[in-house]
Symmetry: C2
């Protein structure tokens, strides 16, 4: 696997309402065309922070490759904005798997291949007695996100996504990823987990994005039963989470949150509810450019 | 054209950090499978406010139909979540046009068919001397958005998009649309314009979403040279707008904004810069769930 790197922000000159020119930082965004065994699969627009993990996670979440061991190499070259994936035995039914298109929400029109929806019933998450989160662990998670340095803070307009390991009242940050799109960010986490063969049973996702249908689907696919968002929820996200048994927390910043589903995975402790003194808009508590 | 209607919000029970149960409204979200001459094209996840215009705009912005006159009827039936499009003469090269997939940003993975990118050079907007906006008209536009009643205010988690006609220091709201995805919202505006044969030359778009590559592309496709966003911008959005000559305004709420590109289309008046007294988070000035 290559370790391609590229600048994550660039400066541009803007004009403000006072007629002043200033230079601000904006997030980089570059096309990454994915070739699988020399066949063009898709072009992803990405910040470019973790392109190899993004490609792995994309292949995984689109269910194009069953095992990471089927992948021989992933080589990203920003000179040509291309990711070359080599598989050991090729992808079975490549055409069929990539034929059907279901356009999902999130931005409105994210792509999830059709066969994915058919799998939903097959997804089984660990029960509430095995996978749960306490209010204290949730507060620890949100505090970690509040302190997280990010491209968002310096340039805005990116979504952040993080993977946490939950153990009792502790929440340990495993990986934090940002991208111009939250689908890319969560796919990158998926790639990280897939590469390590990490189970999602004791994990929780954090995302700055809304809890839409495909975020719930991707979490369930990766076996992560708990998802925390700074933002809100849509009906399909709620319906799917209820159906699949995920615990969803939204509007989550500092010590405030709403549990939308999976109440039975949550150990509440209202004594933790009182918010600490935090400067308005401090840390990640401000909402990003949607 | 049918006029299918459906509920835009639904109430769900949530649990807050104080251990209190409450019922909140969340935006509806439903699949709408588009059939063109009985062939399945795509499934859009939508709020469902203006499904017929959404379908028209989607066909238009995906460049699947050249003229609205080629479309005989659009019939949406929420009983089966389907939109039946009948064309007069069928769609030429249907398979080729829908074959290539370029996944763009926004959410990270919105779908824009490949051929669209090839058209970019062909897009020509009216020059700065013909299509421009004054700071006063911009303030009027932002004030209209601040006062706009919306599903976002009652349920959050939706993107808003509006079309304005700019005339001197005036900005007249033509249409305001919300959807779970901002691609859908802007496609719906495109459908409205297409149906009326409206030129974009004297128009400006407002969106709550980020100024990403496909938002710029869609604006240019519709001949709208001015785009205003409450949110920020990504590099591809900036690069394309600069290349295509669009004026982009971001971080725009009340009287504050940043002009990212197309300075030559803007008549600034810094005397309007002083912000009026507005309660924090009032109106649409708060960011939505991205």
């Amino acid at each position: 696997m290559s370790r391609a790197r590229a600048a994550l922000t660039e400066g541009i000159e803007v004009l403000d309402e006072h007629g002043q020119r200033e230079t601000i930082q904006i997030p980089a965004e570059r096309p990454l065309t994915v070739f699988v065994d020399k066949r063009e699969l898709v072009t992803l627009m990405t910040l470019g922070a973790e392109p190899e993990l993004l490609v792995l996670g994309y292949l995984r979440n689109q269910r194009l490759v069953d095992s990471v061991h089927d992948i021989e190499s992933v080589t990203v070259d920003w000179e040509v904005n291309a990711a070359a994936v080599r598989t050991r035995a090729g992808i079975e039914d490549f055409d069929r798997k990539t034929a059907k298109r279901v356009v999902t929400t999130g931005c409105g029109q994210g792509t999830v291949f059709g066969s994915l929806m058919d799998e939903l019933d097959a997804l089984a998450l660990p029960g509430p007695e095995l996978a749960r989160i306490s209010q204290r662990a949730l507060v620890v998670l949100l505090e970690a996100m509040r302190r997280q340095e990010s491209t968002y803070r310096s340039a805005g307009s990116v979504h952040g996504c993080a993977l946490f390991t939950i153990a009792g009242d502790e929440a340990r940050l495993d990986l934090f990823v940002e991208d111009v799109g939250r689908h890319n960010a969560i796919d990158t986490l998926a790639g990280w987990m897939w590469l390590r063969g990490t189970s999602g049973a004791d994990k929780a996702f954090y995302t700055t994005g809304r809890l839409t249908s495909e975020m719930v689907i991707k979490s369930a696919q990766m076996g992560v039963p708990i998802v925390v968002s700074r933002s809100g929820i849509t009906q399909m996200g709620h319906d799917l989470a209820t159906q699949l048994g995920l615990a969803l927390f939204g509007r989550a910043t500092n010590r405030h949150f709403l549990c939308y589903s999976g109440f039975d995975r949550f150990d509440g402790d209202p004594t933790l509810a009182k918010a600490p003194a935090v400067a308005p808009g401090a840390g990640v508590s401000g909402a990003p450019g949607p």
